[in-house]
């Protein structure tokens, strides 16, 4: 944990007294004892008591307090299993609580970092490290370097599933700079040679074909993707949309209906379903879907605005 976490702990200590007052005769002693041990840095002794106090506490404040100290102590001792266990229980106890969610963001991020460090130490030459490096380059927007790392990985182990797929995805995201549409298609096809069950590779082959207006080919790939992963909303939608564009309105309804069930907040899918119903003369169904499309679009806009507002800062004066 970061050193800046110390104030949080000490601020929590102020809650200890309040928490104790909310408990019965035996419990405050237990919670206080556990918290005091944690505050004194005696986390190995504190953890079993914190666990017990968390389970036995009736009051919310005491649960929050002992749970957070549990996370803190487990992280200090690098007991990852204990840390995730304390956090899971906190999240169950306080669903949607901003304080606990904030703790979760940090704890999980810290655990991801620790595991990546451990991976670098125990297996620096492994393909997993190459893969992590490539993903870091992807995050940094350096597609060429990411592809370079993936190629080294393929030289070492050409049969690793998922790598051609990632390269294909990078080419699609960076048209021109990282390769052509044809290069991307080749990568997805090679992926299916390695792993015929990669639904995402089938999906992207469908997308490439759709963009090139090769609708029968697109339908074939989307159908394969949807068969491989029935809950893959985008694949169901791609299939339905391609059927709709091919004039096969009746056939389009089932996959788009499934896509709507899987992704009810997506306005584009509601719009496609409304169109399919309309073309088939199902006016009431079409009207309902158009209404749902509007609701979903309004909600999406509101969420996007809220996110932008938060990202830009409340007064909007900073860029």
């Amino acid at each position: 944990m970061q050193r800046t976490g110390i104030p949080t702990i000490l601020a929590l200590a102020a809650l200890a007294g309040a928490a104790a007052r909310t408990l019965g005769q035996e419990q405050p002693a237990l919670a206080e004892q556990a918290v005091n041990l944690a505050l004194a840095g005696r986390c190995a002794e504190a953890i079993p008591l914190l666990k017990q106090a968390f389970s036995e506490s009736a009051g919310k404040d005491a649960k929050r307090l002992t749970g957070k100290f549990g996370v803190r102590c487990a992280m200090l001792l690098n007991q990852q299993s204990e840390a995730t266990s304390f956090l899971s229980r906190l999240q169950q106890e306080f669903p949607g609580d901003s304080d606990i969610l904030f703790l979760a963001v940090h704890m999980y991020s810290d655990l991801a970092f620790r595991n990546s460090q451990q991976l670098m130490q125990v297996a620096p030459d492994s393909k997993e490290v190459l893969r992590l490096n490539a993903e870091d380059f992807e995050k940094a927007g350096d597609a060429r370097k990411a592809i370079g790392e993936y190629r080294i990985l393929l030289q070492r182990d050409p049969g690793t599933p998922g790598i051609h797929y990632r390269i294909g995805g990078l080419i699609l995201e960076n048209p021109g700079a990282a390769g052509t549409l044809e290069d991307a298609r080749k990568e997805f096809e090679e992926e299916l040679q390695v792993d015929p069950n990669n639904a995402s590779a089938e999906y992207y082959l469908g997308e490439v074909a759709r963009q090139e207006d090769k609708l029968p080919e697109a339908i074939g790939h989307f159908a394969s993707a949807a068969k491989l992963a029935p809950d893959f909303a985008e694949a169901q939608f791609g299939l339905g949309r391609s059927l709709l564009d091919s004039g096969k309105n009746a056939e389009a309804v089932a996959p788009i209906e499934k896509a709507v069930r899987l992704a009810p907040d997506n306005p584009t899918i509601h719009f496609a379903l409304a169109t399919a119903y309309q073309r088939m003369g199902r006016k009431d169904d079409a009207a309902r879907e158009f209404a749902l499309q509007k609701t979903a679009a309004d909600r999406l806009n509101a969420n996007t605005k809220a996110l932008h507002k938060n990202i830009a800062g409340v007064d909007g004066s900073r860029k």
Binding site: I6, T8, S81, T84, S98, Y108, L119, F137
Partner: protein, 313 residues
């Protein structure tokens, strides 16, 4: 028994009848049906390969279904059965990173105006080097709750990290230091036990040649957090500067125990030993200093190599 349970059992029975194992179900995207079977199969599995496959499938299905409890149960099992396994560590990195992102999204959606959202924004801006934007977000946190611990400390750190204005470098640095000092003092009003704030105040005093005050701050920081190596180093170095080599030994010995690869801790301790006539101890520490410096350089080279990555094809 509810209709849903009956239907689920029906689907399971159909899957088993069709001869599909739980990994096959999971790997073909039927996570809802696969998850309960993966749990029972894992409890019975004895071969390591099968245990790993079931565990990995369980983690992936748990994430797909947004079932955090199941995900973490499977992941704990994998880490327990396969400690230090590269594939499991790689999976762990992704699961934890994903859970962190999901928690931040949930926070933004469920409590978009909470001060924690601004704190997260500030941290993200800080990592991007957008100092002034980050400071603005931290100020938003304080507007919502003036008593949030750690925020003045973060602002002080930002003020000290921001690159000075090129046209008036020394004035800007002095202004930033004065502003940072005010923030740190405000932090200690809110949270008198903030060891980090005490430490930075000590560093500012040390840089300004106010050794007595620096020693007080470093001493308090070390007392507040007995594992804070930098506070012990600061205390020891400042005592050395004030020709109190004998007093410096104890904090510096603590510092090298806490951070055995810190070249500055070894160098300062070697100097303290040397000045108090402990030549053998000094020689040992200088030797450890050399080793620590070499190790540090090695790590830097490895990191550099990692950043440069493979040449593009």
């Amino acid at each position: 028994m509810s209709l849903v349970k009956l239907l689920l059992l029906g689907a399971l029975a159909a899957a088993i009848a069709a001869g599909q194992s739980s990994p096959q179900l999971a790997e073909s995207g039927h996570c809802r049906e696969a998850l309960p079977l993966l749990k029972t199969d894992l409890a019975k599995a004895t071969a390591a390969d099968m245990q790993k496959r079931l565990g990995v499938d369980g983690v992936r299905c748990g994430m797909t279904l947004d079932d955090m409890g199941a995900t973490l149960d499977f992941l704990r099992g994998l880490n327990k059965s396969f400690p230090g396994d590269a594939e499991v560590l790689y999976l762990s990195v992704h699961v934890f990173s994903d859970l962190s992102i999901r928690a931040s999204h949930q926070l933004m959606v469920s409590a978009p105006s909470a001060y924690q959202v601004h704190e997260l924004n500030a941290e993200a801006l800080e990592t991007q080097g957008k100092w002034s934007d980050a400071e603005g977000e931290y100020r938003e946190v304080l507007k919502r709750d003036r008593q949030v611990a750690g925020i003045h400390y973060r602002i002080a750190r930002l003020l000290l990290s921001a690159p000075p204005d090129a046209t008036s470098k020394s004035d800007a640095q002095a202004d930033a230091k004065a502003a940072a000092r005010r923030e740190l003092e405000e932090e200690l009003q809110i949270d008198p036990n903030n060891a980090g704030a005490e430490y930075v105040l000590g560093e500012l005093d040390r840089q300004d040649g106010k050794d007595a005050s620096a020693i007080d701050h470093f001493g308090r920081a070390a007392k507040l957090d007995a594992g804070f190596a930098d506070a012990f180093i600061g205390l020891g170095r400042t005592l050395l500067t004030g020709n109190r080599a004998a007093d410096a030994i104890q904090p510096l010995e603590t510092a090298v125990k806490l951070d055995p690869i810190s070249p500055i801790a070894h160098f300062s301790l070697a100097t303290a030993y040397s000045r108090t006539g402990r030549k053998e101890d000094a020689a040992r520490e200088f030797n450890l200093l050399k080793q620590a410096s070499e190790k540090l350089q090695q790590t830097k080279d490895q990191v550099q190599q990692g950043i440069a990555g493979a040449p593009p094809h």
